[in-house]
């Protein structure tokens, strides 16, 4: 039996192999994903993002338990950084997600960013498709600890929870662009620490001053204490409400449509890029072009133009 056949019969080992296969971009992974898309399209994707140590993994644990109690099958993807120096990674999110049932209803996979810089690994999206095809009702995606601009999670999820902590900053931080703009739900974790109320007030003020669009989702601000499951039930409820709201308003399909558009463009971009690089006879050609710039005979734009024109001919 092939790995795919075992996968379609619900074999967890085969699922793990296929996740690796997709993650490693082994020969033919695109064809495999093509097959898997036939079985996908049912899974909800919930993203959790925020700074390092905010409690994302512990919240993933808490949410997973709620979904399981509701009879759902849950797949989790947790991303941690790859070293830019050695290519190695220490993937430690699993430490916070222990004692889940081992009956196949919950599946957790750690992924390293492997060079991607948007807060997810470049294969995270594809692994979510694998999960979907395997039959998980919900996929929880946890980003690396982010700063303000790693926002890939919005292209991978239906609902984004931004997790911050009382130490995350003052009112000015809440008004900045980037991370603060992508939340469908704000979650102030470690809410027993001083400053949590202040931060909630700052966030509320920031949201109040936003230009309101009629019929838009009213972004909730929640306070949680993930380690003792404080208010996890409220977070769970808000996630469910957000999904219901999006489905009813048509935003859900619209959002997925946008994501697929981006996906197609990204596939094309990669392909053109690869084709272009393959068209260069070898690396020395680029080095020679650099030399012409160093010698003052040309400039980067002129070189780019020349190479492009030769390629497109």
């Amino acid at each position: 039996m092939t790995v795919l056949e075992r996968f379609l019969k619900g074999d967890v080992r085969a699922l793990s192999r296929i996740v690796s296969y997709v993650e490693n971009r082994e020969n033919g992974y695109q064809d495999l994903l093509g097959r898997l898309y036939e079985y996908a399209g049912h899974s909800l994707r919930i993203g959790l993002t925020g700074p390092p140590g905010a409690g994302k993994s512990t919240l993933v644990n808490g949410l997973t338990r709620m979904f399981l109690a509701d009879g759902k099958k849950v797949g989790m993807i947790a991303v941690d950084p790859t070293s830019p120096f050695t290519g190695g990674a220490l993937l430690g999110d699993r430490v916070r997600v222990q004692d889940l049932p081992m009956d196949g209803s919950a599946y957790f996979r750690s992924m390293a960013t492997r060079g991607a810089s948007g807060g997810l690994a470049s294969a995270t999206n594809n692994v979510a498709v694998v999960y979907d095809a395997f039959g998980f009702d919900v996929t929880l995606i946890e980003t690396v600890g982010v700063g303000q601009v790693e926002l890939d999670v919005i292209d991978s999820c239906d609902t984004v929870v931004v997790v911050i902590v009382p130490e995350s900053g003052d009112a000015v931080q809440t008004f900045k662009a980037g991370l603060m703009e992508i939340a469908d739900i704000f979650c102030i974790n470690k809410a027993d620490r001083p400053g949590a109320d202040r931060l909630a007030a700052d966030l509320k003020q920031m949201l109040d001053t936003r230009r309101t669009i009629e019929g838009a989702w009213p972004i909730p601000i929640l306070s949680t204490q993930a380690t003792n499951r404080g208010n996890i039930d409220k977070l769970y409820q808000q996630v469910a409400e957000h999904v219901a709201f999006c489905r009813k308003s048509g935003r859900f399909e619209k959002h997925r449509h946008t994501q697929l558009r981006k996906k197609i463009l990204a596939i094309l971009k990669n392909r053109f890029q690869q084709e272009f690089i393959d068209s260069l006879a070898d690396e020395s050609e680029l080095d020679a072009a650099v030399q012409t710039i160093v010698d003052g005979e040309s400039n980067p734009y002129a070189v780019g133009d020349l190479l492009y024109r030769r390629f497109s001919r």
């Binding site: 795919l4 290519g87 190695g88 699993r94």
Partner: protein, 139 residues
């Protein structure tokens, strides 16, 4: 893309001395491997279940409690019953030579004892993983 070596590191049983395993985790990370660190108080079923989900090449455990003759075989049994023959188990700790020999005969790929240089662990893993990797028919 070059296939990364993935290793799951765990502390089975109740012993909380995790400095050794953290040194190994950092060394393997710096050697370019992906290390899935699961931390303390892991049971054999938890370890093997995690290894299956993470699709690792190897499982590494650190045991300083003296319970190695119980825990290593329990993990090997679990690996057998879950059918993960293509993964291998290695470990380290304060383990007498006689026990080390017996464990390696039982199927632990390698047991490291105090004083083993991290480079030795890295070289062992690279070699052992290269020997065992095989291609499967995916579709």
């Amino acid at each position: 893309m070059e296939k990364k070596i993935r290793v799951l590191l765990a502390k089975p049983g109740l012993d909380g001395h995790d400095r050794g395993i953290k040194v190994i985790a950092a060394a393997l990370r710096d050697a370019g491997m992906e290390v899935i660190y699961t931390g303390l108080r892991q049971t054999p079923p938890m370890i093997v279940d995690a290894a299956m989900q993470e699709d690792v090449d190897a499982i590494g455990v650190s045991i300083l409690s003296g319970a190695h003759m119980t825990l290593f075989p329990a993990i090997l049994d679990e690996m057998k019953s879950k059918g993960v023959a293509d993964m291998f188990l290695f470990g380290g700790g304060i383990i007498p030579d006689d026990d080390k020999e017996e464990l390696e005969q039982l199927g632990v790929a390698k047991v490291f004892t105090p004083g083993a240089p991290t480079e030795e662990v890295i070289q062992f893993l690279r070699r052992a993983v290269a020997e065992r990797r095989r291609d499967e028919q995916i579709m």
